[in-house]
Symmetry: C2
Subunit: 325 residues, 2 copies
Amino acid sequence: MSISLEDIKQAEILLRGKVTKTPLLESDEINDQLGGRVLFKAECLQKTGSFKIRGATNKLASLNEQDRKRGVVAFSSGNHAQGVALAAQLLGISAKILIPQDAPAIKIVNTRAYGAEVILYDRYREDRAKLANDLVPEEGRIMVSPYDDETIIAGQGTVGLELVEQLKSIQAAPDILLCPCGGGGLVSGVSTAILEYHPNLQIYAVEPDNFDDTRRSLLAEERLSNVAGHTSICDSIVTERPGEITFPINQKNLHGGISVSDDWVVKAMKTMFIRLRLVLEPGGAVGLAALLSGALSLTGRTAVVILSGGNIDLQQYIKLLHENK
Amino acid sequence: MSISLEDIKQAEILLRGKVTKTPLLESDEINDQLGGRVLFKAECLQKTGSFKIRGATNKLASLNEQDRKRGVVAFSSGNHAQGVALAAQLLGISAKILIPQDAPAIKIVNTRAYGAEVILYDRYREDRAKLANDLVPEEGRIMVSPYDDETIIAGQGTVGLELVEQLKSIQAAPDILLCPCGGGGLVSGVSTAILEYHPNLQIYAVEPDNFDDTRRSLLAEERLSNVAGHTSICDSIVTERPGEITFPINQKNLHGGISVSDDWVVKAMKTMFIRLRLVLEPGGAVGLAALLSGALSLTGRTAVVILSGGNIDLQQYIKLLHENK
């Protein structure tokens, strides 16, 4: 089970006109500060505020007429929820989505606004996969996995194809790419696309401290789970373990993993506010956090940093940025 | 004294590769809320955080060798300052810039970071034009006006040419265009460009309440000044009266002026945070404020809203958005 460049090219054709071609942005000040060049792929400016609409649209548009009538079910910490809900709305498909009750309110409100039925659950006391799987036989709905699905991965991979074109137009040849990583759908898709054109690019999955399952799994060469009992502000990328389909792809494509503290994540969010005037959610800012923290040196090099999402409640944003000095 | 489409096309060639082609963004939620379609031209994502780099670069690159050696002087509430400072740095020209001491700190810090010499003055007790003009004979510097200069206006007009191309690519035909207006440089340039391709487009200058000199001047058919003693949070667009060169162009091109309260401006900034994940400065958000306030109805129509800048101090941003319910 894997995906090819051709799958991603097919997805790009299917997504044309349905998703935003997000800009590649740059800040002279950040370049000076880090001693290299950083090109930011602003998926926080994507429809629904994150890249997830790409995979969701590719998946739902690929369903046959009969499956569309069955409707879909998904579980998500919020960004995949919005992606599935909007894609379902545009295609006239019924959607039921399970979201943890402590997810950012904006993600829950938006998912409902896109017409999906939202079921809230307690992420510490209920098993979300079991809850969602129960709905498949009960109601006959199609399950839309947030990352462990080739069609989803191919959709997210279109970020990589856009990058290839945008890098070419400014004649930039990046040395490294940093991508936020939860289950690994985005980085597996993006890496599959971009390595075809930039074979020497070193690609890193970036995760929050204590949720660095992909980093540790890459080192151990097997899928390891995170130790329970930790928390992180990066709600969109705290997953239990690497995906079954995504992990072998990432093993083949990635140079390694990096983990970052919440404190560096907030510094990265603040830097994005000041330097690029972009609102990032914590999980969307981990790539820059890895550079700011010095976990990876940029000196004399060019990096692509994927800003994967910008959905955060205003009060939480104010609280985080106000408290961080 | 006026400018033509050809001047703007020349500016566009000169600016190629030096400024960001900013994206045209859209929010389904805002469209639903307002009952029409809004296309946002995100100049807050421009280098230096505002469109001002366009005019400044066009002006400074147009100077001959001898004038470049003389250096430049400018007065600005902060965005023009950053534009002139960065353009001067890139072209190796000495820049001295007068900024009011109560301007947002970020604008002063960035102007200095671009290598310009900053002179702070008291905007309520000193005449900035006189201060700057004194430096012209004293040091022989070239004065770079923030708006009353054809080369500056032509540079700002490139926003309009980009819009023409972007509107064509999505096959959109806007009915109205809302543009923030201080001295009128941006709206005079943009209107000159876009009306050549969309002759029926209704273009509005949007200003803060009590600083609606362009709105009132258009009605009176002569340049009127604002009444002293008022304040506004929209620091980037509080000017005393319409420009000498910009006003006749705006008289010819504009449908009218609209003024908005600070309260609606903050609501627009908040909407941009939630819906498009963009940081706007108050002056950059007045176009959306005009639609949200109902000053202009969008029902069944398509609007272009120019988001002219995003430079605001984090603490001020937090304060404004936190207090506005």
